[in-house]
Symmetry: C3
Subunit: 189 residues, 3 copies
Amino acid sequence: MASQFAPPQDTAQLEDLVSRMVSQALEKERASKTKKIALIAANGTLDWAYPPLILAATAASLGWEAGIFFTFYGLNIIHKDKHSALQVAPIANPAMPMPMPVPNLMGSIPGMTPFASFMMKRKFAGAGVASIDDLLDIAVESGVKLFPCAMTMKVFGYKAEDFIEGSQDICGAAAFLSYASDADVTLAF
Amino acid sequence: MASQFAPPQDTAQLEDLVSRMVSQALEKERASKTKKIALIAANGTLDWAYPPLILAATAASLGWEAGIFFTFYGLNIIHKDKHSALQVAPIANPAMPMPMPVPNLMGSIPGMTPFASFMMKRKFAGAGVASIDDLLDIAVESGVKLFPCAMTMKVFGYKAEDFIEGSQDICGAAAFLSYASDADVTLAF
Amino acid sequence: MASQFAPPQDTAQLEDLVSRMVSQALEKERASKTKKIALIAANGTLDWAYPPLILAATAASLGWEAGIFFTFYGLNIIHKDKHSALQVAPIANPAMPMPMPVPNLMGSIPGMTPFASFMMKRKFAGAGVASIDDLLDIAVESGVKLFPCAMTMKVFGYKAEDFIEGSQDICGAAAFLSYASDADVTLAF
């Protein structure tokens, strides 16, 4: 590109040249910038654990920087004793596709929650979707940052050692905002 | 602007010139860039179908590019046989304003879910809010992109032809991230 | 920085110089820009009132511009007669850590919702977390903008004077999108 140099003859020419160079430099910077996603996982049921984990793992596989802030019930997703036992309630969600419709009354019978959770796991496995445990492994291995929320840890009495290997240092709302402030995509679940 | 040419006399002057041009270029770019919103609809109840459809339709009416990724229960919203029959459960949501308070026990009686859904539709119609069916028509007509999530389609056994006219090709998490990566607003419902 | 001026000898040198200056100008702009968060609060239960209020108050304390759009059940959070009485349902959320597991059947017994709400408030207070009332005060005092959604106000029959002091003028979806369009972080709860 080191073509023969035709020095700008007046301000307009210089401005024009610089303007084109500025556009090129901006485009180059954008193309080279690593994309980033910052997610919040605030639900701790089986169904709501999938979206943040799948999005983060997919983003990481595309070369994005990815982090999830686990807060409120979402802390369950990275809790050592709970992440394999997440459940879904067959009640109060008329949108849940079930083998047969479950009226709220029946859904409130003890035993229906484990049954619905078992059915959902089987449906997901049948469609070739990784389990929550596998998704957590994939996330950690691909560098997704898993941040436990300090405040809700205190509320629920959880300690740093309660969380799976690969979790980050506990993190407050301010630290999450700082992480998210230059993200390209931010979503809460 | 082709004023008499005063070529930059030193690095500082050139820096000053470039800095001003960068600001102008950025401002021009921002002003001319079409705004874009990327939404996720993961809930399939009557109440949660409104926010993504209303935001997308409003954004499109303002000249924004708008797309919704329908995943999990949210697939119901664009399902031919289900979008007109979305329901809301009168149980487990103490925030729902009802003509009279419905205790969870009463909410679990069969028949309460269709009744609450009927009441909500009437309330929304009474306030002049478009129905879900109308909002879907408006969205499609105004160019909102409706993406069904490939993975959860497989889980729930839905096929491309199950979705309303105007839906896009089925789309994975990676394609959604690519769509959302340059959006100005990203929100999940 | 006005070092001895070595005028660019050819286009490549000028491009190089401009490219470095563009990077500097962008970095300067980014560092000086006030960060902004735009939140949606669409849930009106006790547990879901915390995340948007805590994030907005934290953002404001960091010098960010912060605004929350209260829509649907979320309007309860800023409703004068309701914000102190937000409740959480002990049903249909198997992720809720309770002193002892509450089966859906037991959760549907009248009186369990106030009891679960009382327990949650005590847990949060015990961990030193501000109450919803205090968070609202902090938000208003630190300049967080609280926007009631015009459309859902009409649906639920609320009037401007129903909302706490410090709420903004009622606001439609278009006004929220305009507010959010240049935000760095956008999240819906």
